[in-house]
Amino acid sequence: MKFEEFVCFKATIPHLQATDRDGAIAELVSALVTAGEVAAESAKDVTKAVTKRENEASTGMGKGVAVPHVKHSTVKKVVAAIGHSSTGIDFASLDEQPVYSVILLISPLDNPDKHLQAMESIFRHLQKERFRKFLRQCREPDALQDLLREADENPSW
């Protein structure tokens, strides 16, 4: 699955205001509401569900990235928002290091395979140090969009 198919380019936040995990999640959910991907009345519930999932097991996979996610009926297709924190956020990551790139993924209730495909795409790229570095360096939504499109076009990049 390509980034283009699920990343909401209107919901990228180059400078997260929040300095804590739950704040960052709420901020990214808000961005999805503004972009029209998540219904405004569902925002609170989505945020709560993501936080709850995060409390069960951290999605901070180490190396400065976290992929909080949840299934929710508010979306009909998989959608992701991406945020960057310059200060670093405590996500209770596996390597106990702060998180600088947060990819929030919301999946519909009834399509586990699409959720897996989006995860595959995210982690295939996040594994590469170069990709993580560039992701952290994106200071404008346009730069992030270029990076993801480039990754889509060159899967082996």
Partner: protein
């Protein structure tokens, strides 16, 4: 059980010196059977279990091979229900590792429900 192959691999004696070492290699194919597939939580369980063994363990599908002890790599397999994965272990506890991992995937279904109704 018939799907599991166990073998002894003798390292190249030229490389190993006079005392050739023997390494146990064990390999099997498992099928993902829980409804949601190998998403992050099952992948974490898999990594936790694999990490308890001394053997080197890899898991592969048709085009990707993952280190069974790396959560980033395991998540990348994105195996949906019905996917077959090859588990390969190499080391002193290879057979135990493969058996334990197969049980987690096929018998315990990662503690998740099987697909509803239609099975």
């Amino acid at each position: 059980m018939s799907r599991t192959r166990v073998g002894l691999r003798r390292e190249d004696p030229m490389q190993m010196g006079e005392r050739a070492l023997e390494k146990l290699v064990c390999e099997t194919i498992v099928e993902i059977r829980n409804a949601d597939g190998l998403h992050m939580r099952p992948a974490m369980q898999f990594v936790d279990l694999a990490s308890r063994f001394a053997s080197d363990i890899t898991v592969s599908n048709d085009d990707t091979e993952a280190d069974a002890k790396s959560i980033m790599q395991m998540t990348m397999l994105a195996a949906a229900r019905g996917t077959r994965l090859r588990i390969r272990a190499e080391g002193p506890d290879a057979e135990e590792a493969v058996n334990a991992l197969r049980e987690l995937v096929e018998t315990r279904l990662f503690g998740e429900p099987p697909p509803e109704g239609k099975g």
